[in-house]
Symmetry: C2
Subunit: 406 residues, 2 copies
């Protein structure tokens, strides 16, 4: 079950962004599996995508359409099929999906961005998706984020949405986002799709910086299983309907709006980990006192990815030597292991290259019983830090992934 | 259960190498947990050790004793406790263990090499080990390799030994080895201990080259869970009792003796994977046609480490898109994914960036039912290749590692 996470009950609408869903029967009947997100004229869109060389066909097409400079009118997302590892046929299918929605909305195919999530290396059932589009368009409304969050789920147990409002010079700016993902989760980025929209007006280059920074602070700090998906995408929409316009990072209100976008992204990213496949515990891995952020991330990911660490947390067993082992093999070749401290929440576990003299097994056991736990490593060799989020590794992870296709 | 692997029934003795075991009650009563391997005068020893920065105390001490140039008289191995993450106290305990055995054998402590395997970050029970040493020494005999193999097991289900004989100019050279390990297995090296001995005489520098090359061809080509242990060691002993003496790599007989050592090492390394924690399938990952061996290994390990790939093999589900995803995120940034082919045994699965036109799901399913499977990736961009061995990821992996300490 998701770790301290329930389905969202409310999300502010974003003026200028309408959402509609449909049941297209892509993989199973009677579930929402198509989402259309329609944008008002003048809306700006920026995004970041997977670094996987086997990137999915819709990622290629979405990148092309963004790069073409077309005014983006809508995004279309299907679940149940990733349209990845599908070669030239996959590219045709992604373009055909755009053309189908363009036909319904009366715009050019280049004004549509396509996204897919689900099983890899199966042909995309374009005809089913196309047949579902009119219903999704008929369903379009601004107050529809929670249904949209449901329509993009795959192995997710709960849907994910986050919402914020900030005041800028007396005007209200709203930020709302949804995401999906619970397996094949590792940066850059998680197997995940994320869509965040704001009603502020934001210049294109600034919007691109904002989505990159927000991704680096959120979705690029999580791992469930170390697998980087073929389909990851985080999109940021600025509809420009609010009375706040941002041209550059120094503008009044930029800091507040960016913080709202980043916080929505972090809440969504953490929700993905809390709903990680089979997760029973949510772990924050904080590495401090490093020479640079890169080595902090390297050590953090060695811990966060280790199946041995993750199974020990599943068992609530303070078998904390496994964390030391992971720190040791992280690849920081000049690391002095006798100089660092390891904490579990506030409990000092290890220092001077071994178990801390003050450490009591019952203190470790008490912390391990919690569902939210912080692993803190203090390297004592610099001022840099990095924080990552991960979950434990349970029977159910294996069960879910051994049976996902069937 | 181990994949196509049973306990060894025979191992040739090595003249000049005597082995003895004892039940010292380190972690549990009534099981062999101490091994002494005594070497004849003039025997040479070389080894390779873990690259983990949190290397265990016995690794540090064994390296020191080897580097000191002392004539090594014996190796001592305990299971049940790794003496890792134990700081200065751990170093004292490892030295005390050497001193205890030196006292029984009547040699200097620097002539002993210590090894430990088991749980991390617990104090080594030196008194129990010392109390067990006289019984192990009383048990010393050349024909004792199979008992020795049992005495070093931790979560291993079956013991591991391999043996070869080769003829050099009418003389017989024998090579016998034992190993342990089934979790925390990833190069460099596996969580594993390996001891190989030959009766050939081999010059020290040549012996060091031989053990390095043999490790690179065997133990550095396997992964079970991606965790690199704190205690790994592969030791190679040359007793010099056979009528064959090797001074340099060009000598008559070197190729044959090296091949025997390498084959013993490969058989032991594969046995570790076949007995991987919870393993139900043994997978060979062969990556060919790369620009260099490094990129072939990089892609091979991305596949071999992926929890999603490993759970799909556990399920016998040809969800082969997960292999494409792993190839894509392996980090070879200029990889052209449309130029490669993916085979499952002889079945062509993917080419031109997607599923091969000739691929039939039932062919994939047939291969996935097997317990030994080869995943072959042909990159078509050079002449380099690398072969790795791994196993699948099952419920039992989680079960074993969630309960290992208790």
């Amino acid at each position: 079950m998701p770790v301290n996470l329930t389905s969202p009950e409310f999300a502010h609408p974003i003026a200028g962004v309408r959402l509609g869903t449909a049941e297209a029967g892509i993989k199973r009947a009677n579930r929402k599996d198509v989402l259309v997100m329609e944008l008002c004229a003048g809306a700006q869109v920026a995004g970041v995508f997977t670094t996987n060389r086997f990137c999915a066909a819709p990622v290629t097409v979405a990148r092309e359409h963004l790069a073409s400079g077309s005014a983006i009118r809508a995004l279309v997302v299907n679940t149940g099929n990733a349209n990845a590892g599908t070669g030239d046929a996959g590219l045709r299918d992604a373009r055909d999906t755009c053309a189908a929605l363009a036909g319904v909305l009366g715009c050019a195919p280049e004004q549509i961005l396509p996204f897919s999530t689900g099983v890899i290396m199966e042909p995309l059932p374009v005809a089913k998706i196309a047949a579902g589009l009119p219903a999704a368009v008929a369903d379009l409304r601004e107050d529809n984020w929670l249904n949209a969050a449901q329509a993009i789920m795959t192995t997710d147990i709960v849907s994910k949405a986050a919402t914020r409002q900030v005041q800028v010079k007396g005007a209200t700016v709203t930020v709302t986002g949804i995401a999906k993902g619970s397996g094949m989760i590792h940066p850059n980025m998680a197997t995940m799709l994320g869509y965040i929209a704001t009603d502020a007006a934001i210049a294109p280059a600034l919007l691109q910086d904002m989505v990159r920074d927000a991704a680096n602070a959120s979705f690029n700090c999580i791992t469930v299983d170390g697998d980087t998906s073929t389909n990851d995408a985080l999109m940021l929409v600025a509809s420009g309907q609010a009375a706040v316009s941002l041209q550059q990072a120094g503008d009044v209100g930029y800091a507040e709006v960016y913080a709202a976008v980043r916080d929505v992204a972090i809440e969504l990213a953490q929700a993905i980990v809390r709903d990680g496949e089979g997760a029973t515990k949510f772990m924050t891995v904080a590495v401090e006192g490093g020479r640079d952020a890169a080595e902090c991330r390297q050590i953090g990911y060695a811990i966060a990815r280790s199946p041995l660490v993750k199974t020990a947390f599943f068992a609530s067993d303070p078998n904390l030597g496994r964390i030391l082992a992971a720190i040791g093999y992280a690849g920081v070749s000049d690391l002095d292991v006798t100089a660092l401290q390891l904490y579990l929440d506030d409990v000092l576990v290890a220092e001077n290259g071994g178990r801390a003299a003050s450490y009591q097994e019952e203190d470790g056991q008490r912390v391990m019983q919690q569902s939210d736990i912080t692993i803190r490593v203090v390297l004592n060799r610099g001022d840099a830090a990095a924080t990552l989020w991960t979950c434990d590794f349970s029977y159910d992870y294996v069960k879910i992934n051994a049976s996902y296709r069937s």
